[in-house]
């Protein structure tokens, strides 16, 4: 595309020059804003591409964005930093036209614009790679891409262009693949190529590396740097500070919906960036004792295999794992490699042959989740709303959900439910785990993500379980709550319980784990002490090395696939 695009951009620049008046005015505003923050960086050198002033967006009682100013220069990789719930996604959705801001102005190349819907954004030259992809699983790659283009032309032609561009950028794609059959990393490529085909001037990326292996992330960074050198700006949303420092030229930091600072991340430390995001010193888990006490094996998986239940699920194959009392074992992996399936099988939501799973040496693959709970196991699923809790049910009812048969007195005489007991437990969990709510005993759906996660985790920790299996313990949770939860997991293990953490967040894994295993396409690598694991090695295992390791006996791959 190279030259043609550049030519187009040149034209646009000339047009923008005509509207210089507004442009200059906005320059002044930006500078004064920067000055007030004390960042004191002179950014007027670059040509502004997108500028926003006073963007405000309200959802009901919540101010998601409050008078936010932002300026992105051409060819700049601009980081948007902030904790979960700081309003990053809301802000970029306003740029992409999928949300309508309540007030505020957006300037594009110096001209005031109203971005009413995504097709308008794309017409201007704004592309977006969503965190939760906006892909259609039942459709092919080329169909998915055609849907995002105003004039896709004939499919065969488009498929050829996809092949060319994707190979040119080192992100090869087969246009005829059905999305449902593709792993997450490839799906992200589709989104990126989809953006590139629109010849964008600004690409918005929402947490792009959260679904990539470290190696895949490196490859993405190369692509981003190439784009920037070609003049395309990138708005990069992340909470991974190390990445931001590595590739971003400039950063805007949001907290509680407001812009709190701007900076050049390469001049900051990870600590100072974190302080700006959180607004206070960040809590870390307390230093761990060097050698974890290894007690008896409390959770044992032996040759655990399970077929894929739907065409879009992952089959588990030949998984072996032992978790001892006293230790935290973490399973790393990119999303969609069988984590959910593994959780369902260990929790008992799905039956497998009895011998494949043992809790405290009791074979129980065929036992119900209730039976396992009664044997002192506890489970926290990835999806807190709709799996870990019932959205429309009050919290006390959600206490009953997992604890009705674990001897907590929730069922009184004659088999009637005791509301008082459930309410008392709910109060206790709320107090111990600092679950904040607007009024007493609300419906689960009204809680914020972090508070609900504290509740769902607290509900199980409160039982002091002998075996805890937890999937994505701090996904979408703010730093304070995340530290609290991670500390609680370590404390539980040190008290003699076996803790199995499934997580896609490597930082988290290194923070809590004593041993680490990697899951890839339904196969699990051997769990190894944290000291012997590096990010690079985990990355290789994520990318398929886990199969080689666990494929000692596996001769043929029984993958999912198979969709028509």
């Amino acid at each position: 595309m190279g030259r043609k695009v550049l030519q187009k951009w040149q034209d646009l620049d000339d047009k923008a020059a005509g509207a210089r008046g507004t442009g200059q005015l906005s320059d002044v505003k930006t500078m004064s804003a920067a000055g007030a923050d004390g960042a004191g960086i002179d950014r007027s050198a670059g040509t502004p591409l997108l500028e926003a002033f006073g963007l405000t967006k309200r959802f009901g009682d919540i101010l998601a964005n409050e008078s936010v100013d932002l300026r992105i220069n051409q060819g700049e990789i601009h980081a948007l930093l902030g904790e979960n719930g700081a309003g990053k996604s809301t802000l970029v959705k306003s740029f992409y036209g999928s949300l309508e801001p309540d007030s505020g102005e957006i300037f594009w190349l110096g001209k005031r614009v109203r971005i009413d819907n995504p097709s308008e954004a794309r017409r201007l030259g704004i592309g977006m790679v969503f965190q939760h992809f906006s892909l259609f699983e039942a459709l092919t790659v080329v169909e998915n891409i055609a849907l995002a283009l105003p004039k896709p032309g004939p499919m065969g032609e488009l498929a050829r262009r996809i092949r060319t561009i994707s190979e040119d950028y080192g992100l090869p794609l087969n246009p005829d693949d059905v999305v449902a059959d593709l792993p997450v990393g490839i799906r992200q490529r589709i989104e990126i190529i989809r953006c590139l085909l629109q010849e964008p001037r600004l690409i918005i990326m929402d947490e792009p590396t959260s679904v990539l292996t470290p190696q895949e992330a490196d490859r993405l960074f190369v692509t981003l740097q190439r784009l920037a050198s070609e003049g395309c700006a990138v708005l990069y949303i992340s909470h991974r500070l190390e990445e931001v420092q590595r590739i971003c030229h400039h950063a805007t930091i949001l907290r509680h919906g407001r812009k709190v600072a701007e900076c050049d991340p390469s001049l900051e430390t990870a600590g100072s960036l974190a302080r700006m995001m959180v607004g206070a010193e960040v809590a870390h888990v307390s230093a761990r004792d060097t050698a974890p006490a290894t007690g008896p094996v409390r959770l044992r998986l032996t040759g655990l295999s399970a077929s894929a239940l739907t065409p879009f699920a992952t089959a588990l194959s030949g998984i072996d794992l032992e978790v001892h009392g006293g230790e935290v074992v973490a399973i790393a992996g990119v999303a969609g490699n069988g984590q959910g399936e593994l959780f369902d099988v260990i929790s008992g939501e799905r039956e497998v042959p009895s011998a494949m799973i043992q809790l405290d040496d009791m074979p129980c693959g065929h036992r119900s989740i209730t039976w396992r709970r009664q044997k002192s196991a506890a489970f926290v699923p990835e999806e807190r709303l709709g799996h870990g809790s019932v959205p429309g049910l009050e919290l006390s009812g959600n206490v009953t959900l997992t604890r009705h048969s674990t001897g907590d007195g929730l069922i009184a005489t004659l088999g009637l439910l005791s509301r008082q007991a459930a309410h008392a437990l709910e109060k206790k969990i709320k107090g111990t785990y600092d679950v904040r709510m607007s009024h007493d005993n609300p419906e689960a759906r009204s809680l914020s993500g972090g508070n609900l996660q504290k509740f769902v985790v607290g509900r199980e920790l409160d039982r002091n379980p002998g075996i805890l299996v937890i999937n994505q313990p701090t996904w979408g949770v703010d730093a304070g709550a995340a530290a609290l939860i991670r500390q609680a997991l370590i404390d539980l293990a040190r008290s003699g319980s076996a803790v199995l953490v499934i997580s896609q967040d490597l930082d988290e894994i290194f923070e809590v784990a004593d041993r680490i295993a990697v899951i890839s396409r339904g196969m699990l690598s051997r769990a190894e002490p944290v000291a012997e694991m590096t990010r690079e090695r985990i990355g290789l295992l994520m990318a398929g090395g886990a199969e080689d390791e666990s494929a000692r006996q596996a001769t043929s791959r029984t993958g999912a696939g198979g969709a028509a």
């Binding site: 959802f59 036209g97 999928s98 949300l99 309508e100 819907n117 995504p118 097709s119 308008e120 794309r122 969503f130 939760h132 992809f133 906006s134 892909l135 259609f136 699983e137 039942a138 459709l139 169909e143 055609a146 849907l147 995002a148 896709p152 739907t310 065409p311 879009f312 198979g562 969709a563 028509a564």
Partner: protein, 304 residues
């Protein structure tokens, strides 16, 4: 004899075919409209009435389409713009349609009907056997088959069809890309309503040219089953519709032959066959899951 049977099979299959192809489009967009029976019966009564008033079968057929669309518009407004439960709203549509058609149709009971003209293609329809079967049918038989061809083409070969399938597969993504999910779905619902109305009109204008209360006798529901049977592929709807047409006609002939089987047992065959077919299809989870529109029956409320 065989030729006559084949002719009646085609006639019996046509209303099922038209209603099912309409519902297929609706379901491909992610909406489950269980009110096919109600829209069909309204099409039947309104089509009959309009044909009788004007003396034109064509006007009758057009009125039937409008009646079905009107009914589906109520459904669409509730389900799409008020996010009501699709199953319950579809049932309500059927209950209302059966009631309203009964009320409107009281005036037409016993009134002789108007038969749709046959589309005789000169010369061709005189060919023995082949001629009458292929070239001497109601215009609506051809309309039905034409609809299948058009729907097939539009769904899989055009951008409009791609958007429709995308909306049914993932309404969140479609919305994020800037497509108006509700608008696409509303249009699909209207199309489905028009088809169901026409199918009902066929019942009272061609199949048995008269008005009888509840004359659709569950065909709307069978059409819904056909969509599942076809696993959401238009061409398979044709096969399903003709299969059910054959079952219906066989029961008639078995009754006429007086085989000693109670007529009620024969009459219940299409319903039992529907259940059997549904079981066979749904037992094959891979087949159904791959083609089932992922958003089928799920409400969508855009956040803005």
């Amino acid at each position: 004899m065989f030729e006559a049977v084949l002719l009646t099979v085609i006639t019996a299959a046509t209303p099922l075919l038209i209603a099912a192809i309409g519902e297929l489009v609706v379901e491909r967009s992610g909406v489950l409209n269980l009110g096919v029976e109600g829209m069909m019966i309204m099409g039947a009564v309104v089509g009959f009435g309009a044909a009788n008033l004007t003396g034109s079968g064509t006007v009758g057929a057009l009125a039937a389409i409008l009646a079905g669309m009107g009914m589906s518009a109520i459904f669409g407004l509730l389900v799409l713009y008020l996010a009501t439960n699709q199953v319950a709203t579809g049932l309500a549509l059927t209950i209302l349609g059966l009631g309203l058609s009964g009320l409107i149709g009281e005036a037409f009971i016993g009134v002789p009907g108007l038969k749709l003209p046959r589309l005789e293609i000169a010369g061709l329809s005189d060919i023995p056997f082949f001629g009458p079967v292929v070239f001497n049918q109601d215009a609506l038989v051809y309309v039905g088959l034409g609809l299948v061809a058009i729907v097939s083409y539009v769904l899989f070969r055009t951008r409009a069809g791609l958007i429709l399938r995308a909306v049914g597969d993932n309404h969140g993504s479609a919305h994020a890309l800037g497509y108006s999910v509700l608008k696409v779905r509303f249009l699909a619902v209207l199309f489905g309503g028009g088809c169901a109305g026409l199918a009902g009109g066929y019942m009272s204008l061609a199949y048995t040219p008269q008005w009888v209360e509840n004359m659709t006798a569950g065909r709307g529901w069978i059409a819904l089953a056909l969509v599942v049977f076809a696993s959401w592929l238009p061409v398979r709807v044709v096969a399903g519709a003709y299969l059910f047409g054959a079952v219906t006609v066989l029961t008639f002939h078995a009754q006429a032959q007086g085989l000693g089987i109670p007529s009620q047992f024969l009459s219940s065959l299409p319903y039992l066959a529907t259940i059997v077919v549904l079981v066979i299809i749904s037992a094959n989870r891979r087949l159904t899951l791959v083609n089932t529109p992922a958003c089928l029956g799920k409400p969508f409320v855009p956040d803005r």
